[in-house]
């Protein structure tokens, strides 16, 4: 089947993979065509996940690594979850491996994005309500790119925890294991990342925003 046909079939089904069991059986049998079907129908979704963690070129490498892992591990896929869920976890792991392998650069401090307090413990810049509900904000087309651009501004070690916990829905223990840090450190980084993102979004969403 040509690539266009595969994409159309996938879209028409309204689900990532129709007849998943048959595809898995063909993958286990080592069928090249089944593997290509998997890459063409799931590669875009996996690339979108990898791009959250990595710049474009590294994201491509992570997807490639993930598919290599798939060929090695498909025999152990037990079908307890959807294949797309299993692939999601594999590409997140591949992206984390790439992050670890990248040359560590000095990280920007997050301190200036955290709320400030007066000596008596009151907020130095008192928070005010945002002008619209989350649902209303999401109806505006620019919100998605605005929020994503500000997540990208977070220092990497904080952004990664925020993505793993809030977006990719790993729990605290899983996140700690994935990053090789303590659960306490996961909680500290998650709270700081959320506070920093709130600071970055506040000027765009507060009632007196221009």
């Amino acid at each position: 089947m040509k690539a266009d046909g595969l994409r159309a079939a996938s879209r028409a089904a309204g689900a990532p993979m129709a007849d998943e069991g048959a595809l898995v059986a063909r993958l286990r049998a080592g069928e090249d065509a089944a593997f290509e079907t998997l890459v063409r129908t799931q590669g875009g979704r996996m690339l979108a996940v990898a791009r959250r963690y990595l710049p474009e070129e590294d994201a491509h490498d992570a997807v490639q690594d993930a598919f290599v892992s798939v060929t090695r591990a498909i025999g152990r896929f037990e079908g307890n979850s959807r294949l797309s869920t299993w692939l999601h976890r594999i590409v997140v792991n591949a992206a984390l491996m790439k992050l670890r392998a990248r040359k560590r650069r000095p990280e920007e401090s997050i301190e200036e994005l955290l709320p400030r307090f007066l000596e008596d413990g009151h907020q130095a810049d008192a928070a005010t309500p945002w002008r619209e509900s989350v649902q209303d904000s999401l109806e505006r087309q620019e919100t998605r790119s605005l929020v994503r651009a500000n997540i990208d501004k977070l220092p990497e070690s904080y952004r990664t925890v925020l993505l793993l916990r809030d977006v990719d829905e790993l729990d605290t223990q899983e996140t700690a294991e994935a990053l090789g840090i303590s659960t306490t450190n996961v909680k500290v980084r998650l709270h700081r990342a959320r506070q920093a993102l709130r600071t970055l979004l506040d000027p765009h969403f507060r009632k007196d925003a221009s």
């Binding site: 290509e36 890459v39 063409r40 997807v63 490639q64 598919f67 290599v68 977006v167 709270h191 506040d202």
Partner: protein, 81 residues
């Protein structure tokens, strides 16, 4: 509880990690301090926006996978076998 302590406890409150006494103190503070109520609400909105704006849409594949990537993956598989 000061506003600073209140903000420090938000994650633990939302994840239900606070003991009963701390939870009661936390909720009493938010009832009396409008800026902390606003901070809590906008913190929760931040989390919801982050999730909604990064999550992949359900159903159809969101992006076409670049042909260059497809070929790289297929080559890697061939090299492996």
């Amino acid at each position: 509880m000061t506003c600073q302590e209140f903000v420090d406890f938000i994650l633990a409150y939302l994840e239900r990690d606070l003991g009963e006494a701390e939870r009661t103190t936390f909720e009493a503070h938010v009832g009396l301090c409008p800026p902390c109520l606003d901070y809590l609400e906008t913190y929760k909105d931040t989390v919801a926006l982050g999730i909604a704006c990064c999550a992949e849409p359900e159903g159809p594949v969101p992006d076409d996978v670049p042909e260059q990537l497809v070929q790289a993956v297929l080559s890697a598989r061939r090299a492996q076998s």
